[in-house]
Amino acid sequence: MTLPKSLRPRNRYVFFEAETLPDASFGEHDLRRALWFEAQNLYGDVTSAETRAKLVEYDGDDATLGAGVVRCDHDGVEETRAALACIDKVQGDPVGIRVVGVSGTLKAGRDRYGGTPETRETTVDGSPAWERGDVVDVRTDDGFMCGTHHDLGKE
């Protein structure tokens, strides 16, 4: 059964990037659940049903910067932003999610917002480090020191 076009739900695709520490290990499934629970906790079942926010894809292969897409109702973009903003940890790994753009179709969004810089492993003063563009996370005794090339005096 197909609804007439004017009555079908209208989607928006929220493209985001998710910055993590290099040792983060969560995957697409974990993030999908995190978004689901965050929406439930933040504004409950009724608004969740209207918003229809659902993670449709997430690529967390990169060590420090994942990227993904949430599909939601075209009237639910702001609620989706709020729920994404309130995800501060996934499976115990701290994460900073930032929306990079909103699009009416997956394809248009991929063309416009696809492609994030890659992280590469290196060393800083003998410590393992992860470098992405201008930023560097260096392993320390109790975690990571997160800086930039400016801090390392590279520029």
Binding site: A85, D88, V135, G147
Partner: protein, 223 residues
């Protein structure tokens, strides 16, 4: 848009990284406000040149009594802090901060009970002390703790609206991962009842005034 953040040496994110992340997320400027305990050495930030967006060097005086608080504020002003904030939450300290005419009273309602009331809201409005509505607990806690935080924000919001107390809204980020983009912060603020116009004033106009108004004694004329 501005945000008020903590950074290294207090946390594991350097000021430069905070600036880089904030610039990428769409901020115009960042105000550093590391905690400063009057018993300790005055904090210094390692801010390299070329961080992309302006970084303003402020401090958040955290004292456990009224006398140390005044001492801390004096040292911060002498030390040239661009923004002098006070770590609020206890009624006596909130009052002392307002009387010391600091720039910003951070999270005044964090303590248990009513630590920020109508009297303080009016005094803050009269002396031009801005009050912070910190979204930290909304963004980073859940359950009962978040419910309480939202309720505190509602109370504070009601008071600052009634008395016209200037206020800022912040994510109170301690690391680059805790920073949220302006539009996400706006969406969360809207959800808890801060309207668009208030949000703009709280993240742009008011922080700009705090940063530019270096002389704490300048009278603030409300138009």
């Amino acid at each position: 848009m501005h945000d008020f953040v903590h950074a290294a040496p207090e946390t594991a994110t350097t000021p430069a990284r905070m600036a880089q992340t904030a610039a990428h997320a769409g901020y115009d400027a960042v105000v550093l406000r590391n905690h400063f305990n009057p018993d300790d050495a005055y904090p210094s930030y390692d801010i390299p040149d070329g961080t992309g967006i302006p970084m303003h060097e402020g401090v958040e005086v955290r004292a456990d009594g009224v006398e140390p608080l005044h001492e801390g504020v004096r040292r911060a002003e002498r030390g040239g802090a661009e923004v002098v904030a006070v770590h609020g939450g206890e009624e006596a300290l909130n009052r002392a901060a307002i009387q010391a005419d600091v720039d910003l009273l951070a999270h005044p309602n964090r303590g248990r009970g009513r630590s920020f009331d109508h009297v303080l809201a009016r005094e803050a409005a009269e002396s031009g002390v801005a009050v912070e509505l910190s979204l930290a607990s909304v963004l980073r806690s859940t359950g009962g703790e978040r419910v309480e935080a939202v309720r505190d924000l509602h109370t504070t919001l009601k008071l600052v609206r009634k008395y016209g107390t200037p206020f800022v809204v912040s994510a109170d980020a301690r690391t680059h991962l805790e920073l949220r983009a302006p539009r996400e912060l706006r969406a969360v603020a809207y959800l808890i009842g801060i309207d668009e116009e208030e949000f703009d004033r709280a993240t742009d106009e008011t922080p700009r005034r705090l940063v530019e108004n270096d002389d704490a004694d300048v009278e603030v004329l409300d138009g």
